[in-house]
Amino acid sequence: MSRINDLFEQKKENVLNVYFTAGYPTLDSTLGIMMALQDAGVDLIELGMPYSDPLADGPVIQESSLIALDNGMTIAKLFEQLKGFRETIHVPVVLMGYMNPVLQYGFEKFCADAAAVGIDGLILPDLPPLEFEQSHGAIVKKHGLDFIFLVTPETSAERVRKLDGLSSGFLYAVSSSSTTGKEKNFDDVIAYLKRLRSYQLTNPVLVGFGIKDKETFGAVAPYANGAIIGSAFIKAISAGENPNAATQEFIRAVLN
């Protein structure tokens, strides 16, 4: 059983997953923010590996990625920082990023090193499912990592089932066809989540894109197993001098 499976065994609703970009706002802030997220009651952490050309992301995450890169964050640097983090951080952690930096690092080495430091799963939105089935999936599994695919309201029922079958840990439901950080119509999102629920998928579903506070989390989380907050959290830690305190404050406001 993976750490992610354990989480969903124990908690089937209102799971809160928070995304932020490694190396943002400063090169050495990553572990402190992860710790603060755990302390504030976040169930799962999605750690973004910054990339120069993040196609699926909106301006907030792109900007944080560029700053993180300027700060000197790389995959190698991140793994170095993450060494030993499992001594203090017990919530599941997934890495999210784009294929190009991972390919340069070496896909197998990336999976091996991620697993070795204690990462639980991967989200690589531009890895084609066909390639995952034919080659990369076996490497991911060999190193005991979960792999999470994205589905959108435009994804056909047949394809949702296929992507659910390829995923482990959870399935990432993008709330509408859009980049991150855009405003949403929640009636449509709820209808879509109800549709996903009717498919009786094997994985838990977390919904992301457009979830920014207690109200929006509360509006959609009941129709899935929980939700993911990204851009709004990054904005929250951009403002202040003390990202750990900003983290505590932001998460408490969502959960209380």
Binding site: Y51, S52, D53, L55, A56, G58, P59, Q62, E63, L66, L69, T74, I75, A76, Y98, M99, N100, P101, V102, L103, Q104, Y105, P125, D126, L127, P128, L130, E131, F149, L150, V151, T152, E154, T155, R159, L163, V174, S177, S178, T179, K182
Partner: protein, 397 residues
């Protein structure tokens, strides 16, 4: 299995390069296009409308011109394929005509495009005006400043020009913004990519629309030289759309030498260059696997070229395959050489070429051309848009 250098596999691979590395948010649009593009574009009625517009609106066939004084200088025979005479001033419109007809048949109501130098933006704005379809062009903030005349043309044609303010504020970032727009508008919008880049089927689709260039060359060469096949074909390569069109019908003719000329900027090893095959390694950019200029950590780097149209850190997957397989010879020309040749061609042949195109001429003295050789250069665009740069160069002389 690849049986042809010009045609990819069903999944869009040219050798190891190509494919569709896209987030799920783009899947439906790209897959729909993949399923439809061949049946739509091979339909006789589509072909009829496409070729009628190429003839009556674009002004095709473009002439194949024997450049006598240039030929004399090299003691050889050199023809120029005059894409600069196309409506809007470059080959770019061959593709936008094809894609606007495709977009209409797909029922799309809104067109988006990216542009670097502005030539593709103008060509897209033009066909949108022709068909009465809304047009949004993403253009790097920096390019908007250095290509003001083309920005004005797009606006006059009724397009909305949106500045890309992220990253380096050039073509790469304009492409990112256009892709994001497509993600956010998944049903009514068609994205007209301007080069042979992007996820499958774009490289193949754009190559096919541009292949009219080499199709005409074969007919014209037969008329003028008695044989359809030249000794070599030369074209400049940024993303590589004019080169793809000029090479297309010669790629599977092993006797024809294929010469691609990249922009070396200040010099290949100066850190201010856009010579992708020399400086890049295999990677993924804008949805396809190709050769990409990047750091050892896989971050895409900012290229440099004096010509905005070649200022791109990648290259189409077909060209990446032509390079690694050795089918094409890849050369490069610096900013300075391109400028010098822009003036040479202006004064020797009375044709002011685009800066992009001028790169293709700069390698002529390195090709060892023999007297009996017949070389064809794709004169991809005219130099009106570069007059500012040319005027500065004249003032410095």
């Amino acid at each position: 299995m690849i049986t042809s250098y010009s045609k990819p596999s069903e999944q869009g691979y040219y050798g190891d390069f190509g494919g569709a590395y896209i987030p799920e948010m783009l899947y439906k649009n790209v897959e729909h296009l993949r399923q439809q593009y061949l049946s739509i574009s091979n339909d006789p009625l589509f072909q009829q409308e496409f070729h009628a517009l190429l003839k009556d609106y674009v002004g095709r066939p473009t002439p194949l011109f024997l450049a006598e004084r240039l030929s004399e200088r090299f003691g050889s025979t050199i023809y120029l394929k005059r894409e600069d005479l196309c409506h809007t001033g470059a080959h770019k419109i061959n593709n936008t005509i094809g894609q606007i007809l495709l977009a209409q048949r797909l029922g799309k109501k809104r067109i988006i495009a990216e542009t670097g130098a502005g030539q593709h933006g103008v060509a897209t704005a033009t066909v949108c005006a022709l068909k009465g379809i809304e047009c949004i062009v993403y253009m790097g903030e920096k390019d908007i400043q250095r290509q003001a005349p083309n920005v004005a043309r797009m606006k006059m044609l009724g397009a909305k020009v949106v500045p890309a303010t992220s990253g380096s504020k050039t073509l790469k970032d304009a492409t990112n913004e256009a892709i994001r727009d497509w993600i956010n508008n998944p049903t009514d919008t068609h994205y007209i990519i301007g080069s042979v880049v992007g996820p499958h089927p774009y490289p193949d689709m754009v190559s096919r629309f541009q292949s009219v260039i080499s199709q005409e060359m074969r007919i014209q060469l037969l008329e003028k030289t008695g044989t359809e096949l030249p000794t070599r074909v030369i074209a400049c390569v940024g993303g590589g759309s004019n080169a793809a069109g000029a090479f297309y019908h010669f790629l599977d003719e092993p006797t024809v030498e294929i010469v691609a000329v990249e922009a070396a900027g200040h010099g290949v090893n100066t850190g201010m260059s856009a010579a992708t095959t020399q400086l890049g390694v295999p990677g993924i950019l804008h949805g396809s696997k190709s050769i990409v200029m990047q750091t050892p950590d896989g971050q895409v780097v900012e290229p440099h070229s004096i010509s905005a149209g070649l200022d791109y850190p990648g290259i189409g997957p077909m060209h990446a395959h032509l390079y690694t397989s050795g089918r094409a010879k890849f050369m490069s020309a610096t900013d300075e050489e391109a400028l010098k040749w822009a003036f040479e061609i202006s004064r020797v042949e009375g044709i002011i070429p685009a800066l992009e195109t001028a790169h293709a001429f700069a390698v002529l003295d390195q090709l060892g051309m023999k007297q009996e050789d017949v070389s064809v250069i794709c004169l991809s665009g005219r130099g009106d848009k570069d007059l500012g740069t040319y005027m500065n160069a004249m003032n410095e002389q």
